[in-house]
Subunit: 603 residues, 2 copies
């Protein structure tokens, strides 16, 4: 709050004004170096992710140019590298695939609409400060989702590596289709795909230590290792050109139109827009959660801060820019941002420079990629996404919490059997229901007075004096719709069990809210208890809750009293027992015996 | 719990064994009288609600026979009268109308499937003790839903009263269609419909007091008043017969097949079953919530109890019975159950006797209804549903809670503009999101030591001593996915604001759970704070939470310590300040001043 107050207003709207004002040559040299390295890494990735999204390769380049400028203007992270990423590309393919066939202008148009809708949604969420909605995606759900999608994406790339046709949105459909077509494997494609995959895995795992052993410095070794995909791209292009492998059935990227990203208008078709809304929402939320956790991790390393609401606007601007420059939905990528950070990016200008590099590539270098085998791109994707798979997280979650594990597995299995969108929905729904289920059956304790004090404690844990006529209860949860009726029944049952009972005192010290459903249940409970000759009182009700209860006429006219402290209630309702307890009398034999027997039950 | 233990096992499975064992002639006379009155009330209602559901009239009778026996065997309420009800009939029409045209065998088949699915779901929810899912329908949502549906149903009946064609599932479509066709009004139909409506409103409001004034007893007057619809039915049938009004364009019910409810098999079509699942779930939950609140209200009047899980099984059995005897989804009706109760029903046998009465009607009396005008049935529905409309509840909710009001209005407006199913979903989603939103931004307080004691209290509300090196915080909510990241940021920001700070102590006395997302956030917070030279400690962590935290290796290796009490933590981390506070030193001028200035801000 106070930090925001110190920031000039213009910087709150356009964070770039802040860092541009302090910009200098040293920052530029850092940013420019990072931009070169990220551009080299981004070229094969953007082509590959476009392939994964079912879009022409140049769309990947377009999505890596203007969107980065959009983010640089409005985003708050200095290191986040925005562009096409694996999971969002898969989600785009699934969403758009429902309304158009791959390769048609309608498919491309729907991808633009998806980018526009998710951009507008992200901006709206940011301006309305609704970033909290993203927190409904719990860590286990998002981690399970990424792992499951990673494996699904890897499986979807096998067809390119084997050079066969296969399709399907779920792992089951996909593997069925792969097995069916496995006889049609194209040997030259498989050789290229397999060699590229093995090479890229080797680069990732072995090259950096090797380079360091033979005398390279840490940073140079790292940069070489990151350029592995570029080497694979160059070598396989040369192999296709010199061995004429495309004639032997190796599928290549083909002619990519040369030129800067076009100014595009997403088609205006209200039915399509409405139909794409749910997918756009899911893509926005998943992209935001992914991106913000990367940005936060990197910001923390330099003791900087990112502002989630500004991130929403920044990513929104990136997606709107993508929609109007021939791209598709984008977000902050994990590996790419880490490279950007390690290479020394100090301000979002690094992103702008990267965008320039990609724009130059689109303008000048696309003819070079004509003979690039799709199998090489598939190998790039395969190696990248398998690094997202985190099976250790599944085990850690199992050990820590069975409930979180259930939500995680629901996500993973639904992604594999039904699809990515259903997976997210299943995971979020189950985590919300499991959370509500806990607060729907809240812990509550029967209280008694600690002898010689005015304190009231759980009869199961302390030696206390209880009144024969007054039942004292404490509920450790707000009273709201999910637990209202259950508590109504529970309290009623406890109250009518003992015919000597005249009063129930509900201790509300832990009750932060009583909603309209709980109010109705309290009123119903008061009536039911009244019919049984028992009256209900409240004690230690918090100020805001009391204010609210006073607004209900029927509650005020029927309820017993609201006592300031539990002791006041008992002193008024059963002065005799309270007197004894005040004098420090030990609990009666019967109470103590009950207390012990309950302990024996392990209660 | 203990109540259930005392009940013999057979009665827990078949509650009817219990009351049949204690059955006698006195109970039978009570039950039989109630059955006669309910049967007379149920005949026109069952014909009318079948019309509302778009089904042939006899289906209403079938749904009022065997289902009552199913409920009597397994249900736990002595007064609940099961059968077709308005809201569920409308929901059936909407659900089934998506897959088949009114009047086709497929339409009837789909209604049977819907009854079967919702019956099986209710039984499953009961056996799995998942009744709590129904509590996700908060009081304001269900009340808004009933009011909105009541008005929607009333509007849908106007076409029968005007004798015109009109269609539409939302209020907007419906009123558009009504206005379009208003020129085609059939005068004799309008006269019958209008007179029947006025008569029924008069009976409801005026007849009972009138009869009492002229000397009738309370109960007899009541019974006559409830027979109003029967009188309207008889008079309008005679009018049609003697004036040959059907030739003048008055639509009549027509020939109703004579005979006992048939043994029917719901068609087995996996695609249809799957497509109807969501509707069946909504119908089950809405029906259950409606029914259980009626049953509970009536049981409380005689100090009896109903068991929600048994109710689920009872209603489930009723729906399964309906599916196999040519009926459609049923539930406990409000008005009908009150009549049953007032007429003296003492056991579920009253329902079995009513079922017998309806079966006899289906066998012998259906020819009498051939000339019954649809306008009369529409008038019956109109008058019945307008009594469900509770505009006062909208105002009461507005006064009591704006959040509940928002959920209620979302339900009402969505029912009117989109439809009944969307309305329920909108209301439930909004109430859940608003609830999560509150716990996503929980209350938290900065603590200080009350001089001369070991107590720590909110610095904004008490004169306390705070340590310059240790930040003490208390969070009044469980830590879970919806608030984890927000709290991580909040605590980090507060901790790095003051460069003198060395430690943060988090008081967890109000934390009932730390889920996997919150654990990851805590771990991230520990790392981020460590980088800033600040260490995080926990105090007063509840036993089960500590046990869980111990399962996480990375948490245990990085966190500071978990202290038993907040005082222990401060005494270890800043013994100097603690010493001063122990000696009862007053807060320093600066602290006190801060304290006062905060008070002035109204914090």
């Amino acid at each position: 709050m106070s930090g925001a107050a110190r920031t000039p207003r213009i910087e709150r709207v356009l964070p770039c004004v802040g860092w541009l004002r302090r910009y200098d040559g040293g920052l530029f040299r850092s940013d420019a170096l990072a931009a070169v390295i990220v551009t080299i890494m981004l070229i094969p990735q953007s082509l590959a992710y476009a392939l994964l999204a079912g879009l022409p390769p140049q769309v990947g380049l377009y999505a890596s140019a203007l969107p980065l400028v959009g983010y640089a203007l409005f985003g708050s992270s200095n290191a986040l590298a925005v562009g096409p990423v694996a999971v969002v590309s898969l989600m785009t393919a699934v969403a758009v695939g429902q309304f158009a066939a791959v390769g048609t202008p309608e498919y491309l148009g729907a991808a633009l609409v998806l980018a526009l809708l998710s951009g507008v949604m992200l901006i709206a969420l940011g301006l309305l400060r609704l970033g909290f909605l993203a927190s409904l995606l719990s860590h286990p759900v998002i981690s399970g989702f990424i792992t499951a999608s990673g494996i699904l994406i890897a499986a979807s790339q096998l067809k390119h590596i084997f050079g066969i046709e296969a399709s399907g949105h779920s792992l089951i459909e996909l593997s069925g289709s792969l097995i069916e077509h496995i006889g049609e494997v194209n040997l030259p494609t498989l050789v290229i795909g397999a060699l590229a995959t093995v090479f890229l895995f080797w680069v990732r795992a072995q090259l950096k230590p090797l380079l360091k052993r033979i005398g390279f410095g840490e940073r140079l070794a790292d940069s070489f290792a990151k350029a592995g995909p570029v080497a694979a791209v160059i070598v396989t292009i040369l192999a296709v050109e010199f061995l004429a492998l495309d004639a032997a059935g190796v599928k290549v990227v083909g002619t990519i139109p040369q030129g800067l990203p076009p100014i595009a208008m997403p088609p205006f078709d209200p039915d399509l827009w409405q139909a794409l809304l749910p997918s756009a929402l899911l893509i926005s939320v998943v992209g935001f959660v992914e991106s913000v956790s990367v940005a936060q991790t990197l910001a923390a390393k330099r003791r900087e801060r990112i502002q989630p609401d500004r991130e929403l606007v920044g990513l929104g601007a990136a997606n709107v820019a993508s929609a109007f420059s021939g791209g598709y939905p984008v977000t902050g990528g994990f590996a790419r941002s880490v490279v950007n950070f390690d290479a020394g990016a100090r301000t979002p200008l690094a992103g702008v420079l990267t965008a320039g590099g990609i724009a130059l590539t689109a303008l000048l270098l696309t003819p070079l990629f004509q003979h690039l085998p799709k199998a090489t791109l598939a190998a790039t994707i395969l190696v990248a996404v398998l690094s997202l798979v985190d099976l250790g997280a599944i085990k850690r979650t199992w050990v820590y919490s069975k409930k979180d594990f259930a939500a995680m597995m629901a996500t993973i299995l639904t992604v594999w059997t039904v699809g990515v969108e259903a997976g997210i929905i299943a995971g979020v729904s189950l985590s919300v229901v499991l959370f509500l289920a806990r607060s729907a059956r809240p812990h509550f304790a029967r209280l008694g007075q600690v002898p010689g004090t005015h304190h009231f404690r759980n009869v199961k844990r302390h030696e206390v004096i209880t009144s024969p006529e007054v039942l004292s209860l404490r509920i450790d949860e707000s009273l709201y719709f999910a637990n209202a009726r259950w508590l109504e029944d529970k309290i009623y049952d406890m109250a009518i069990e003992d015919p000597k009972l005249r009063h129930v005192v509900l201790n509300c010290a832990a009750v932060n809210e009583i909603d309209a459903s709980a109010l109705e249940s309290l009123e119903a409970l008061i009536e039911r208890l009244e019919a049984a000759g028992v009256s209900l009182h409240l004690a230690e009700v918090k100020g805001p809750v009391t204010d609210k209860l006073k607004r209900s006429d029927s509650f005020c006219s029927h309820a017993g009293r609201i006592y300031l402290s539990h002791y006041d209630a008992l002193a008024a309702l059963d002065p005799e027992t309270t007197d004894q307890a005040d004098k420090g009398a030990r609990p009666e034999r019967s109470t103590a015996a009950m207390h012990l027997s309950r302990k024996a039950e392990g209660a």
